[in-house]
């Protein structure tokens, strides 16, 4: 071991000497006289030439590596955060691909089981701590001072320190892999006994949650180094959080009131508040764990301490951490979505309140990660209640986003496509989370792939998608160029669909009971596992497309000559960062601001077609109109459901369909068996409910939404409405038919629905014309 150290030291000295000699040979550092094209500024640096290479005037900053190592400019630090986070994300994403490759086969044959354990541990750490948070902090660093009209962050040097603690943290956390790889390459040419110290570290095999007692007893020294790295990253996050909070409170310009703060700024404020409390606690927990591992304390020991104490403390950080990475993504969505919907964000205040509510509630849900540990059922129930309650503010956001898009001037740009895909993924990821908040469901699904599917829908399908959306949306500001829009749109769709395939498969695997965290699994799960891997590879392809677009567009993308890249002035959403960009284009490059013709400007909150908004009727007119609509709707519905019942009745007589759900209603209501009109009471009751639904409920839904259903003419509109209902009916009334019986069942119910939809639509049209009903039809 000592010999290895001496050899490494000697090699380092040799490398240094060689490097110095080489540098002199090739003439570095270059001077103007030596032929370099750089020109020194009188105040230091090479600002003029930087403008040539980067496309921007560096505004008196130092040039080259020195600039990036010493900068305290919030924009530079923001870019450093973004580059660092993106690199970590690509590294963690590679881990993810390795995991999916192992899971292509049921046996643990691609990597060893130990390697697999190490990969999923470091994948979690890398993605959660070194990818997501740095990227969001980078975006916030760059844009937040501009949003609030501040000169810079409140503490610029603290800002720089906060960033520069991250690279060593990452190296410490992932050091085992690095030393192992270097060892394996050097092992080709150097006897292993001289470099065996490089193999002393291996990636920890603990899971990112580092549960005790395993994390205390694991002898791998890399565990200690990784814990120190995590601690260091926590310190960096706390520093950055303090800075964000101070900046938002103190550095706002006088014109920027609390009511003027953008949603992204609000979400960063809440995120920073959460991080301040949560990461401070994480630091304490990690120190306690290190003490247990190295100094014989017993905080988490089985004898004298409590492994469950660790879980409580870990998740008291861990669940707020979920919202620390989630809330900035919602802030981005709330910022970007309205720009491409042509409308202001619907319910600004309620989104702010929901963000604050999530921030508060997020500290009260941690124990839902521990429902299976046998805690007191009364405590468990209270955590279930809060965990379900936190879905409410999340749902408020979703409804506000959907309402923002409703009747908007939707433009399917790449950021908008990613926003739409992210909302879909968030709904699935969020609702599966509500299921898991219920104790009985959690007890069954805990530690299965259902959990993996649930949270990946959020962290990949939502959060990563929103990062990409932000990168496209602000790309012109960051680089002065435009990206390849076609490629970006394609990438957005592949990424969103890939997410749904991958994590949807995992949800099904979890429902089937497959436990997570094993390198091997039973053979019968292989097809779904392979589908999940294909989806993951598609996401990987989409990520590489994104990376290519970012790099290639930096080289050859069209130079921005008008700051209103997204046509935001038209909807009066030319927000502060774009105004700042416009000023910079004007001052640096003499590009004169443009404005759309005055008649084209329309208030962003206004609907696209105001003439469609009807004048308010009087109360009497309103009543008469409603009554007439109701009668016509009920009449049309009665005719339609009667014909549908005839088709279904014929199918029942032919044996294609059994009415167990109809008869089951009486049993649910506790009605005694008997007969009415010679028919079983259960059948009569069930049919009555079915018939009433066909007369009242579905015609109402049809009338309310008829303008939204696809179809060239009104009969087709009715048919498409019925086709939307049919899968639900077919699933609900399915009673185990197979083969031809199944085909006959599906065909007969499909026909019945087609009859219902066409009759409903046709009768509506006839009655409308006959009685001059002012219907949406």
């Amino acid at each position: 071991m000592i010999g290895g150290g001496v050899l490494a030291g000697a090699l380092a000295v040799c490398a240094l000497v060689c490097a110095t000699y080489l540098a002199r040979t090739i003439g570095w550092p270059a001077t103007v006289a030596a032929g370099s094209s750089r020109q020194a500024r009188s105040d230091g640096g090479y600002a003029r030439r930087m403008a040539v290479y980067t496309g921007f005037d560096s505004h008196g900053k130092e040039s080259g590596l020195f600039r990036w190592l010493t900068t305290v400019d919030h924009k530079d630090i923001g870019l450093l955060y973004i580059f660092f986070g993106a690199a970590a994300g690509l590294w963690g994403g590679t881990d993810g691909m390795m995991i999916r490759t192992e899971l292509l086969t049921p046996a643990s044959d691609v990597w060893s089981a130990g390697t697999y354990n190490g990969i999923f541990t470091t994948h979690g750490w890398t993605m959660l701590i070194f990818f997501v948070t740095p990227v969001f902090f980078g975006i916030a660093n760059y844009f937040l001072p501009i949003f609030i009209d501040a000169d810079d962050m409140a503490f610029p040097r603290l800002n720089a320190i906060g960033f520069w603690l991250l690279p060593p943290s990452l190296v410490m956390v992932r050091g085992g892999l690095i030393t192992e790889m270097v060892g394996k390459i050097l092992g080709l040419v150097i006897p292993i006994q001289y470099i065996d110290f490089l193999f002393a570290l291996e990636p920890p095999e603990l899971g990112w949650y580092i549960y005790t007692p395993l994390s205390v007893t694991a002898t791998n020294p890399q565990v200690d180094i990784a814990l120190l790295g995590l601690h260091l990253s926590g310190i960096a996050t706390v520093m950055a959080s303090i800075n964000f909070i101070a900046t938002i409170f103190v550095e706002r310009s006088e014109e920027t009131t609390w009511a003027d703060l953008g949603i992204f700024t609000w979400s960063i404020l809440v995120t920073a508040g959460l991080a301040l409390f949560a990461f401070s606690l994480l630091g304490s927990v990690l120190v306690m764990l290190l003490l247990d591992r190295n100094f014989a304390t017993t905080f988490f020991a089985i004898d004298g301490g409590s492994p469950l104490l660790f879980q409580n403390l870990f998740w008291f950080w861990g669940h707020p951490e979920v919202y620390i990475i989630f809330l900035p993504a919602t802030g981005l969505l709330s910022t970007i979505l309205p720009k491409f919907s042509g409308r202001k964000l619907f319910g600004y205040k309620y989104i702010v309140y929901s963000t604050l509510a999530i921030g508060v509630l997020s500290f009260g849900v941690w124990a839902h990660h521990m429902f299976t540990t046998g805690m007191d059922p009364r405590i468990r129930a209270s955590f279930m209640a809060v965990s379900i309650a936190i879905a409410v503010p999340s749902a408020i956001k979703v409804f506000n986003w959907l309402t923002t898009m409703w009747e908007g001037r939707i433009r399917l740009t790449a950021p908008m496509l990613l926003c739409i895909g992210a909302i879909g993924n968030f709904v699935v990821g969020g609702i599966t989370g509500v299921f898991l908040a219920a104790i009985p469901v959690d007890l069954v699904l805990s530690d299965t792939y259902y959990i993996v599917g649930h949270f990946h829908f959020i962290v990949a399908g939502f959060i990563a998608a929103m990062m990409m959306a932000a990168s496209y949306y602000w790309y012109p500001i960051l680089t002065g160029r435009m990206y390849d829009r076609d490629l970006a749109r394609l990438q957005a769709v592949i990424f969103s669909v890939g997410s749904a395939i991958t994590f949807g498969s995992l949800l099904i695997l979890g429902q089937l009971g497959l436990p997570r965290r094993y390198a091997s699994y039973p053979e019968q799960f292989a097809p779904l596992m392979q589908v999940a891997s294909i989806g993951a590879y598609a996401m990987g392809i989409a990520t590489l497309m994104w990376l290519f677009n970012m790099l290639q567009s930096y080289r050859v993308g069209a130079v921005v000559t008008d700051a209103d890249v997204w046509d935001l002035k038209r909807s009066q959403q030319f927000s502060r960062e774009w105004q700042w960009f416009e000023k910079r284009l004007e001052s640096d490059y003499g590009i004169v601001p443009t404005a759309p013709p005055a008649e084209e400007i329309r208030p962003s909150a206004q609907w696209e077609t105001p003439e469609r908004t009807p004048a308010a009727p009087t109360a009497a007119e309103d009543f008469r109109s409603i009554a007439r609509d109701a009668v016509v709707g009920a009449a049309g519905g009665a005719l339609a459901v009667t014909l549908m019942s005839a088709v279904l009745g014929a199918a029942t007589l032919l044996g294609f369909l059994q009415p167990p759900l109809l008869t089951g209603l009486a049993r649910i209501l506790g009605i005694e068996p008997g007969t009415v009109f010679g028919l079983p009471v259960s059948l009569v009751l069930g049919f009555a409910v079915f018939y009433a639904g066909g007369v009242i409920f579905w015609p109402t839904v049809f009338a309310a939404g008829a303008g939204r259903f696809p179809g060239g003419n009104r009969v087709l509109v009715g048919l498409s409405f019925a086709m939307l209902l049919w899968p639900g009916f077919a699933l609900g009334f399915y009673s185990g038919q197979t083969g031809f019986a199944l085909v006959a069942y599906l065909g007969s119910t499909l026909l019945a629905h087609a009859v219902y939809g066409a009759t409903l639509s046709a009768s509506f049209e006839y009655l409308n014309d006959r009685y001059e009903i002012a219907s949406v039809l």
Binding site: A23, I26, W28, R49, A113, D486, I534
Partner: protein, 298 residues
């Protein structure tokens, strides 16, 4: 359907998923023959818990673990046991074959009494990837079809005369100029030379990759060739010294050649060693100069 829409979005979208479907099979199909050659599978890992941790495992669950004296273990098991005890990670691979009974017992986990103390020892199997022979060609076909689908937009743009890049412009910014003649010139050269010195140690492929790394950031083709020559000389020197210290360093190369090109036949081991050691002298400068020339437009 609008053909512009078809070739810009629909065909590459389908192509992406076909490509994704081919990746897994191509990786497994390629990895399968290589894995065994490199000794990356087959040997189970043995983990040994010391007297402090062992009781936590062996005393729970009411299960009676098989018990062995250290002397009863086979030679490979003993060797792995001792190495695992010495290892900071408590683990070492089992080099050799275990008897079926011993393997079965260690798979379950066993108590081994060594110098009067009880240790818990267990092995984790690592079988080799075994895939159907048709998987690789089928996957390669999927990669080909998917790749063509993904490149369809480029062909379409070329055909209709649109710029190949969506935001194409005459104002091209050279990405590598920052390193070649920009503010990161020195850092790029020294950093790339350092990285290439490590990567270049991998036989044959390493000097090619290393030369490319150096060549990508070299200011001119001539300088790339000069730097590549320096790199080649350095690598050859290291490999020559390594061959003296480790005569068996490159014994894995001949079987690899046989695997990749069965018709060539097993090459002479000494010849291979000489080839590996001397190859950087030629490969590194050629690779560096070629890379610089091919990337002059970047």
């Amino acid at each position: 359907m609008d053909r512009n829409y078809l070739f810009t979005y629909i065909v590459p979208l389908i192509g992406a998923f076909v490509l994704a479907a081919g990746i897994g099979g191509a990786v497994l199909g390629t990895y399968s023959p290589v894995q065994n050659t490199f000794g990356l599978c087959g040997s189970p890992d043995m983990t040994v818990f010391g007297p402090e941790e062992s009781p936590q495992t062996t005393s729970s669950g009411g299960f009676e673990f098989p018990q062995f004296a250290y002397e009863e273990l086979s030679d490979p098991a003993r060797s792995a046991f001792e190495e695992a005890l010495r290892s900071p990670t408590d683990r070492h691979s089992v080099e050799g074959t275990l008897s079926p009974d011993e393997r079965e017992a260690l798979l379950t986990g066993s108590v081994v009494i060594y110098e009067g103390t009880e240790y818990y020892a267990a092995i984790t199997p690592h079988p080799c990837v075994n895939v159907t022979p048709l998987l690789l060609p089928a996957s390669l076909l999927a990669l080909l079809v998917g790749g063509v689908g993904m490149l369809a937009p480029i062909a379409w743009r070329r055909r209709v005369g649109r710029p190949l890049h969506g935001g194409d412009t005459g104002n091209v910014r050279s990405g590598l100029a920052l390193f070649r003649e920009g503010p990161y010139e020195g850092v790029g050269l020294i950093g790339s030379f350092g990285a290439a010195s490590v990567v270049g140690l991998v036989p044959l492929i390493g000097p090619l990759l290393g030369g490319s790394i150096v060549g990508a950031v070299a200011p001119t083709t001539r300088r790339a060739a000069v730097l590549g020559t320096y790199l080649g000389a350095l690598l050859t020197g290291i490999l020559a010294v390594a061959t003296v210290l480790l005569p068996s360093a490159f014994v894995f190369v001949p079987p690899l050649v046989v695997t990749l090109a069965p018709l060539v036949g097993p090459p002479n081991a000494q010849g291979v060693t000489i080839l590996v050691v001397l190859a950087p002298l030629l490969l590194a400068p050629v690779s560096a100069a070629a890379t610089r020339r091919l990337t002059r437009s970047l």
